[in-house]
């Protein structure tokens, strides 16, 4: 999925990695758009290597017990919950 063409198979592969179902129509449209956008991103090839000297500092705080979000509030936006837990689909 670089240089010129982007195939529908490549779009489907990335969509599977990203966990997004796509219609056939979306696959074809994205394939055409991705070719153009990725073609444009190719110009990054001419960027020189640059020293990335980020001066980062850790920010620490004491590890103290605090009141967590109330369980009912935490579950309040879940499409479904059961016995005080989020209800999710089967894992496998």
């Amino acid at each position: 999925m670089s240089e010129d063409a982007v195939s529908p198979e490549e779009v489907r592969h990335v969509a599977a990695l990203a966990r997004i179902d796509l219609d056939e129509e979306e696959v074809d449209r994205f394939a055409a758009q991705f070719a153009e956008i990725l073609g444009y991103f190719e110009t990054l090839d001419s960027v020189p290597e640059v020293d990335r000297d980020a001066e980062l500092t850790n920010v620490m705080r004491p590890d103290e017990r605090r009141e967590p979000l109330d369980r009912e509030a935490a579950l309040g936006n879940a499409p479904e919950s059961e016995d005080g837990y989020f209800k999710g689909p089967n894992v496998s």
Partner: protein, 457 residues
Amino acid sequence: MSDAFITETEIAGAPDGPLAGRTVAVKDNISTAGVATTCGSATLADYVPPYDATVVERLKAAGATIVGKTNMDEFGMGTTTETSHFGPTDNPAAPGHVPGGSSGGSAAAVAAGEADLALGSDTGGSVRCPAAFCGVVGIKPTYGLVSRYGLVAYANSLEQIGPFARSVEEAAELLEVIAGPDERDATTRAPPDAGTSTDDRRGAERSTDGRGAAGASTDGRGDVGTSTADLRYADAADGDVDGLTVGVPTELVDGADEGVVETFRDAIGELEDRGATVEEVTLPSVEHAVEAYYVIAMSEASSNLARFDGVRYGTSGGYDGNWNESFARARKAGFGDEVKRRILLGTFALSAGYQEKYYGKAQDARAWVKADFDSVLSEVDVIASPTMPVPPFELGEGLEDPLKLYLADANTVPVNLADLPAISVPAGETDGLPVGLQLVGPAFGERRLIRAASVLA
């Protein structure tokens, strides 16, 4: 209901404070306890946050009344506010045109007088673009000045919450309320020269290090662990630019629309009339800023938006089949086109075999842009350009061509890559359409930008 808002409400603040009696509109990706926060997305249409963002807590404490949650491009991904699940917002300053994006509803609410002030978020221009298109003032603060706690994340390393107002002074008043360290956002820090009145003057502190360590807050003023740092901005809006040096980068002016450039030159002329000196400068790295910005923003988005699985919040994918199938259905139903496009491109840019080619090179370009701005800002006090290279698009004009819209961000995205502060201030009009002037300054140089921009609004 006004099309600037997704939800209209009335949240009263404290009985007094610096914003008592003022109304504020809040972008709908900033969490408000008990009031829907949709991010302009179908997946969060019914989401009601259980807590306030830090900036919302500070608005309430300052006495402001929050009048609504404003329309926006879905998850902040757009330049027109047209990718919102809740429909477009018209531009009050140029009816029939987009208000800009992604914080289009916030800018429109202020332009129409439906709120005195507003908050937006700026990942690659999402405060400055709508400010320019709607003829109001918008500030993108230095990375780390304003807490992102409670802002629904799109691209963490780039975004900041920023104010809108009809004048520079009012925008500065709102910045005063929201700025300052927050222990719930470890990327915030106190400005190295917090609140002193001389740091913004001509030539002063030009060598300000944009990446100074968090330890730089040992100035004895605010405590990093508490919520306010006694920062003053509004009193800098005195229009005194005598002796200020303004650099105009050829790269950010040459490709712009002719009428936009003419309006921009006239506005720069007003600064010169007040004693500022204007010189041409060059920023060769910005040629690669748009592609670097989109690679980084999309990569971060692909990771951030992984949380929308339809289990804890958002559109459910049902319970048929396995976990992956349910997630994929939830995300198909919940996300619009532009969000899917960016998640997929970001996933691709981070995938095996392509990471160094795209993400790695984009980080090189980001470091180059930072170095370039630091170098120019050691020669001049502020950098000026048109905020947007074009006047507002007509409603519906650009949606089918994503790359065309990405390229319109050429003048705003370099600032986010460089972590610097910028302000967009009305420069005038071209054919009846608003034009914004952008000023960029050194890290934590907000006072200098406010002083210079206050000449114009």
